[in-house]
């Protein structure tokens, strides 16, 4: 609280490092998969497949780095918020960007009836905030301010870069391993020596989702508390955020239409509030911490 944004430097640095290693990790995984697949299926095309794997992984990483926000927005069917229709939304965000000294993010609205929000993008200059229709309808100005401030702090701390990258890339790894596992059924009879690579492939395909899960776990619950804390630093008004969280707790209905991989991005876990909130700390606990401020 005392030192302002400076004290979040560690967090920002950690997020940037993690993002880098994640991208590196994805590159290695895809190239490794290419290696195993080419050895298992078509050793004679080894070089072609490897070159393809490298180009593909680089392109994939670059595209998702620059478009992760658009991918996330598209997957929830978000639309751009118009300034004339959603004045309060714009007013609130503009006020908070002044309070935090951050650039203005682009504002979106997603067609969800539950109260929720997320932020995305690769850095504060290229960021978006997306709020659900339900949130705009059910929250008053102070509560909306609390929620938006929470999302703004995710942007300021570079949580968005890491979280969105995880979401996008991890989905890809899962798909590749699935494709590989299924393609095994259609394999023509192979020669000797290939078996070991097929076995390796199966092991990798099984390990990939576990790897994905581990990466998702590194999106620690701690950053939700940090974002709550800096949200209060911006608004100087904990009751706004507390009331918003209480409203979410009360309405408590899981949304079926949201892709599970997106959960870590959201303000509150969109699926369930007590059982599996592995991506978010329990709401009661967040409220308790906020009340102490």
């Amino acid at each position: 609280m005392k030192k302002g944004r400076i004290s979040f430097h560690d967090q920002i640095l950690r997020n940037k490092l993690k993002s880098f290693f994640l991208m590196l990790g994805i590159f290695v995984v895809i190239v490794l998969l290419g290696y195993v697949i080419s050895n298992a299926f078509a050793p004679e095309y080894f070089f072609t497949i490897m070159i393809f794997a490298i180009i593909f992984s680089l392109a994939y990483i670059l595209i998702s780095y620059h478009n992760s926000d658009k991918i996330a927005l598209a997957s929830v069917g978000a639309k751009k918020a118009s300034r004339s229709e959603h004045k309060q939304y714009y007013d609130v965000v503009e006020g908070l960007t002044i309070a935090s000294g951050m650039p203005m993010p682009k504002l979106y609205i997603m067609p969800l009836q539950q109260i929720n929000a997320f932020a995305s993008g690769r850095n504060p200059e290229n960021s978006v905030i997306c709020v659900s229709e339900g949130a705009l309808k059910k929250l008053d100005k102070n509560e909306l301010e609390g929620v938006v401030a929470h999302e703004l702090s995710h942007i300021g701390n570079y949580d968005i870069r890491y979280m969105t990258l995880v979401t996008v890339m991890v989905g890809m790894v899962a798909i590749i391993s699935q494709v590989f596992l299924r393609s095994l059924w259609f394999r023509r009879g192979g020669g000797r020596g290939k078996e070991i690579f097929i076995l390796l492939g199966i092991i990798l395909a099984i390990l990939a989702p576990i790897f994905v899960y581990l990466v998702q776990m590194t999106i620690s619950r701690k950053r939700e508390f940090v974002a709550d804390a800096s949200a209060v630093k911006f608004t100087r008004y904990p009751p706004g955020l507390i009331k918003a969280l209480e409203k979410i707790k009360e309405e408590n209905y899981p949304e079926k239409r949201v892709n599970k991989a997106l959960a870590p991005l959201f303000f509150a876990n969109p699926f369930s509030f007590r059982k599996l909130s592995s991506t978010h700390p329990p709401i009661e606990k967040r409220i308790k911490v906020l009340k102490r401020m």
Binding site: K2, G4, R5, K87, I98, A99, S100, G101
Partner: protein, 180 residues
Amino acid sequence: MILLIIILGVAALIFFIYFNRFVILENRIGNSLSQIDVQLKRRADLIPNLIETVKGYAKHEKEAIKAVTDARKALVAAKGIEKKVKADEKLEKALKTIFAIAEGYPDLKANQNFLELQRELSATEDKIAYARQYYNDSILVFNNLCKTFPGAFFAKLYGKKPKEYLKIAETEKKPVKVKF
């Protein structure tokens, strides 16, 4: 020999880093100051429109209208951020009277233009409050750097002094009393 060069290089780097940090933080303070200015100006620009609208429905409330016009004039004429902020506080008070009076004129209260101006004015008031908060936050970060070690050493070296906070008016600190 190489070791000496490395040590000197690192030392020079530290001097540069601290110099830049002071400059960056000072720029941030200057920037947040101009942000307050921008919002104050925006607020002053909204007033004439409001006065016109109010005059159309509540001509007899001359005193309240005059208070707002005067407060606006004082705000536009004020030099220096302290005085401007003080003038804005006076304007805010005058506006509150106008909005309270408007409650007695249903036609005015239902006027789309009036509602829009009211919303806009309260939004700029929020922004002014946030800009002031950010200004003081920036000064806090700067002063922390000036007063803690090793920043204090470099502050002395570069001749940087802790800055004054923007003070909040006495009236704002007192809890509001509600009378029925």
